[in-house]
């Protein structure tokens, strides 16, 4: 299983000791192992799980399906990772998904126009404007959260709780609780289109991921965010503009959620203010935790969060394809969260350490 860990990640090997210990202690080991076990499980239980085929120039298969369906969650998890790294939490993600999706769907809508005798749907507002407006709304939501956390210094969970309650209410008010259907072909491309044989949503995720990675690794931003998470007071005394950093992180998280909202509405061709992104914040937090980022802030792993999101989606897929009632999913998720959180705590490690020591005696 160790061979699965990306060889480029073993760079600090020389410093820390033998290759083996580094691999065993690598933070990504557990999430990747969990994903691998799940995939192996699927390979045995679901016939043709790893089969990929090309139909109409598109790649089809369970793996592509999982990736495609995990796209909104992956986006949300990316933003959430940075927020959690600053010791924060953003539980308004689901509401922002609903809000941005609703804005986009309502602006685009689609009216039927007869063109040479053939019915054709035209967007109410140019798609670029609509998308910009939706993302703009998401950015505003993030700014609101950020100002509450950094400016007024509310606890993050409370600050974002406000938007979680009010944001969905706002989206429902906009749509009057109805589902807004979109009838505009180009918009569907975002969530269900294919580019070079792969779902377009994957490119969106990849682009955001690459951009975030670049920002975190090639600029000092990642270091600053970690510093704020490890000790906000020390970070401020060291001359970091913690308030600006916090606002940036919340804006970024909301922007990711906004994009996730676009993917969701485009994929189901409608915006449902009541249910879109419901409980997505919890899944995103779960993905981040599964990926090995501690909820106590500080060190974070974007790759881990991606793997976490994939674990959740693979789990869902497995449960569906085994014919188990989908409601069981929640129980399984709950058990997984319990196990992962407990295994992350140092008390648990001490406990297992004691037990493993006692055994040979």
């Amino acid at each position: 299983m160790n061979t699965r860990v990306d060889p480029t990640l073993t760079k600090p090997a020389q410093a820390a000791g033998s290759l083996r210990t580094v691999l065993l202690q690598h933070p990504l080991l557990r999430p990747s192992a969990a994903l691998l076990v799940l995939l192996l499980f699927d390979a045995f239980l679901v016939p043709g799980f790893f089969r990929l085929e090309i139909k109409d120039g598109h790649l089809y298969g369970a793996l592509v399906d999982i990736l495609n369906r995990a796209a909104p969650l992956m986006l949300a998890a990316l933003g959430m990772t940075l927020v959690i790294a600053t010791r924060g939490i953003d539980i308004s993600v689901g509401a922002v998904v609903a809000l941005s999706g609703t804005v986009a769907a309502m602006l685009i809508g689609g009216t039927m126009v007869m063109n040479n005798g053939a019915p054709e749907y035209v967007a109410n507002t140019p798609m670029g404007t609509a998308l910009a407006a939706a993302i703009g709304v998401a950015l505003l939501c993030g700014l609101w959260n950020g100002v509450l956390v950094a400016g007024i210094k509310l606890q993050p969970i409370v600050a974002t709780l406000i938007l979680m309650v009010a944001g969905r209410g706002l989206a429902q008010l906009l749509t009057d609780g109805q589902i807004v259907t979109v009838y505009y072909q180009p918009y569907f491309f975002l969530g269900s289109g294919y580019l070079f044989g792969l779902p377009f949503s994957l490119y969106v995720v990849a682009a955001v991921f690459a951009l975030t990675m670049l920002l975190m690794k090639k600029t000092a931003l990642g270091l600053f965010i970690q510093a704020v998470g490890i000790n906000p007071v020390a970070a401020r005394l060291a001359g970091l503009r913690t308030a600006t950093l916090l606002i940036f992180v919340y804006v970024f998280c909301s922007a990711c959620a906004g994009m996730a909202g676009l993917l969701v509405t485009s994929n189901i061709k409608s915006a449902d203010a009541n249910n879109a992104g419901l409980l997505l914040e919890l899944d995103a937090i779960l993905a981040v935790t599964l990926g090995g980022t501690s909820l106590a802030g500080g060190k974070f792993s974007l790759v881990g969060s991606m793997i976490g999101a994939l674990i959740i989606q693979t789990l869902t897929y497995t449960i569906y394809s085994l014919g188990v009632p989908p409601e069981v999913n929640m129980v399984v998720k709950a058990v997984v969260v319990f196990i992962v959180c407990m295994s992350q705590s140092s008390e648990f490690r001490q406990l297992t350490h004691k037990i493993s020591k006692r055994r040979p005696a």
Partner: protein, 327 residues
């Protein structure tokens, strides 16, 4: 003169009970506005109905109040409520248990569920937020394991309780509302006149100091979450009196209503500070908003959420800027 008023205002705003007072004033103002705007709003029965319709929420907010006072949070209450309605319905309809036995079983299960969460939080030093989040998933998932459909309760005792009206002061209350009021009195006694209550405040104020004073932090914490689970289960029983059914979708988002009620009732989310009785005023404010919007008739019900969000915002900021500098 103006300086004196300012000083007086600052003294008042610094007073420990300031936000609680604001809530009560707000409640009276809302009822007054409602009475002025809509004929028939200011009858005793409308106010009693606030209690009847929100009895379960009062009970849950009381449990949540204890958790928040101890510096934690319990996100599982909504799904524990749903699970309780589900188990009650199942025990009555399928297993044909005696109602009293079923109710006791559900209450014990709720308390156990909460205690387990508290135990995990304390033993592994995990964030209450994430543990109760998992508890929330777990409880809702178990609901669907019992049944994905709604189970109707036609047990005679439950049906009778749901129809009972207890006449008081010319109006009437439901048994559920009376139970909620009794629980509130008990909770106020528990919070302010017992060792457990003082320990909860101490742990919420500063866990380390509490431990150094020789308080048993672990036992207090397990007790608090057990109490919250118990209250959520009792809320579930009241809810099944009210709805006469068990369903996995019952009570979605109630945890947020309860947190909002506790905050609006003047309890600091950072813990250690507030009044359990604030749960009642908080819930009544939430209920009054809904009633006002229903009386108005032209506003869509989505406004409720937006107004609650706005109120939450105002109260958090007030807490922050006035009394609660300790967060």
């Amino acid at each position: 003169m103006s300086a004196m008023i300012l000083k007086g205002a600052r003294g008042l705003s610094g007073a420990p009970w300031f936000t609680s007072l604001v809530t009560v004033v707000l409640l009276v103002a809302m009822l007054g506005i409602g009475g002025a705007a809509y004929p028939g709003f200011l009858s005793l029965q409308v106010i009693f109905n606030l209690l009847i319709d929100n009895a379960y929420l009062v009970v849950i907010a009381i449990g949540m109040g204890f958790v928040i006072l101890s510096g934690g949070i319990d996100l599982s209450v909504g799904s524990v409520l749903a699970l309780s309605t589900m188990i009650t319905a199942w025990l009555l309809q399928t297993a044909h248990w005696h109602p009293a036995l079923a109710i006791v079983a559900v209450l014990v299960l709720g308390a156990l569920f909460g205690a387990c969460q508290g135990f995990i939080i304390h033993l592994f030093k995990l964030q209450p937020f994430i543990v109760t989040l998992a508890g929330m998933f777990l409880a809702r998932g178990i609901c669907y394991l019992i049944s994905t459909e709604s189970i109707t309760i036609d047990q005679p005792f439950f049906a009778a309780v749901s129809q009972t009206q207890i006449p008081i002061l010319g109006g009437f209350l439901s048994p559920g509302a009376v139970i909620a009021l009794v629980v509130l009195l008990l909770a106020v006694w528990l919070a302010h006149f017992t060792a457990f209550g003082r320990a909860v405040y101490a742990v919420g104020g500063n866990e380390q100091s509490a431990a150094m004073m020789g308080l048993n932090v672990g036992a207090t914490r397990v007790g608090v979450y057990a109490l919250s689970g118990f209250c959520a289960a009792l809320g579930g029983v009241l809810f099944s009196f009210y709805m006469l059914s068990g369903y996995g979708l019952h009570g979605q988002g109630i945890e947020l209503d309860a947190i909002a009620a506790v905050v609006i009732g003047g309890t600091l989310l950072s813990g250690g500070y507030g009044y359990i009785a604030g749960a009642l005023s908080g819930v009544l404010v939430l209920g009054a908003i809904q009633t006002l919007i229903a009386f108005d008739g032209t506003l869509s019900s989505w406004w409720t959420k937006i107004v609650i969000g706005g109120l939450l915002f105002v109260f958090c900021v007030v807490q922050r800027l006035m009394g609660g500098r300790r967060g």
